[in-house]
Amino acid sequence: MESIKVDDLVVVRGGATVLDRLSFEVPAGTVTGLLGPSGSGKTTLLRVIVGVQKITSGTVTVLDRPAGEPSLRHEVGYTTQSPSVYGDLSLADNVRYYAALYGRRKDAVGEAISSVGLGGMADRVVRTFSGGELSRASLACALVAQPALLLLDEPTVGLDPVLRRDLWALFGQLAAGGATLVVSSHVMDEARRCDRLLLLREGRLLADDTPDGLRSATGTDDLDEAFLRLVEQWEVAG
């Protein structure tokens, strides 16, 4: 069973091809890492799956429906790269608002806040948060919806290693509970924590594999090195 099915997707924006003939599937109940350098098209791809990005051609199926279908908005959670929360409200107010939008009960609010490790800060105004706290506040607003599919755009930027480890452990738990996660990152170090990897470069899909599969295909244990080798092979192949 796959949660996302992308077939021959092309996105052209302002004359430039941002996503070039992508085809892949994301199995349900897994954490898929969407990796690639800044500007490789990760955010555009996530926006296509959420249904807010116009596409040029191809088909994108999300939870067996075309991406962007209204009923999907109840089941898909999304955090943008720059944390989009209301700075002039407390953390609890922010999460409570999203809980109300998704029709979730009040106790889901506290759970979402403590799952991102901000339990002690629920009543603080979000404007006073640090960068890492802001992105976790934004994440809590997505988690409170308890979505079947969670799309996270660089959720771990600016976090210390301990918090990063905790969040990846959380992602693993959510996937074990049946949710599907697509997490973008430009840090290859995070790739080893994923069930599957999608490597994106200049809008093209370099690899769609498990971390182990990628290691054996490139003959190296280091995923950073694996990425470099893939880029070299790709450039030689033209």
């Binding site: 249904g51 807010v52 989009s84 700075g87 999203y98 919806a145």
Partner: protein, 245 residues
């Protein structure tokens, strides 16, 4: 439209206003101070004050809500919260009406305080009905909100949003009958003024004040204002796009 989503949004916007004490204080106190200034300015010619005071009660809610809404919407757009909201189950109508409910409550408080000050402290002539006067003020506030919402989509920054104030609100303030009564202005100015919704709010306020019964023209004006609100809200909601290139 889903009442639960409308109320959740109204509560959230209300929460942002409640935490912004300075905006609240300015929104409520400034109209009263300006009314007092006008009454002092025309202390020797109370007739002028009697004409100006109700007209100003029609201008304040409009200006306040126009500014607050256009800045609030530009903020929703630039902070990314609008795009995020449009990926949730909320409908555009829920969002727009939610904003409307929260701002209408603020307008109600502002109009009540300003009316109380004008009637109680500054000696403005009593209107035929205080309830209808406050009703006009709220409709007028919603008009400012609806126009602010529609125009906010043309502004990319808060700076630009504030510039719509002189561009869109000032001509209406000049021609609405506040400065020169509409029956004393040139025909072509009168024609322009008829196309401006604020004129009808000011007309309703001045017709109501000093009269003993609610004139039929007041209701006509209210219908015109409500129509403008609905058209502007529909246009404003149409500018909220779920998908972008």
């Amino acid at each position: 439209m889903n009442p639960r989503l409308v109320l959740a949004t109204a509560w959230r916007v209300g929460g942002q206003l409640r935490r912004d004490r300075r905006t609240l204080a300015l929104a409520i106190v400034v109209p009263c101070v300006l009314l007092w200034l006008f009454s002092e300015l025309f202390a020797d010619s109370p007739m002028i004050f009697q004409r100006l005071a109700p007209a100003m009660l029609g201008v304040f809610p409009f200006v306040l809500m126009f500014l607050v809404t256009s800045v609030a919407m530009v903020r929703e757009r630039t902070s990314g919260t609008l795009e995020r909201l449009l990926t949730t189950p909320i409908g555009k109508g829920d969002l727009v009406v939610g904003y409307g409910v929260a701002f209408a409550v603020l307008a109600l408080v502002q109009a009540s305080v300003a009316t109380a000050v004008a009637l109680g402290l500054l000696g403005m002539d009593a209107p035929a009905s205080v309830a209808v006067l406050v009703l006009i003020a709220v409709a007028d506030a919603l008009l400012g909100m609806a126009l602010g919402l529609g125009l906010s989509s043309l502004a990319v920054t808060e700076f630009q949003a504030v510039q719509f104030m002189p561009a869109v609100a000032f001509p209406q303030i000049l021609l609405c009958g506040l400065i020169v009564p509409t029956d004393q202005i040139a025909g072509w100015l009168d024609a322009i003024s008829r196309a401006m919704p604020l004129r009808y709010a000011v007309e309703a306020m001045t017709t109501l004040t000093g009269a003993s019964t609610v004139d039929g023209r007041v209701w006509t004006d209210l219908v015109i204002i409500s129509g403008c609100v609905l058209v502007a809200l529909a246009l404003g909601a149409a500018t909220l796009r779920r998908r972008s290139a």
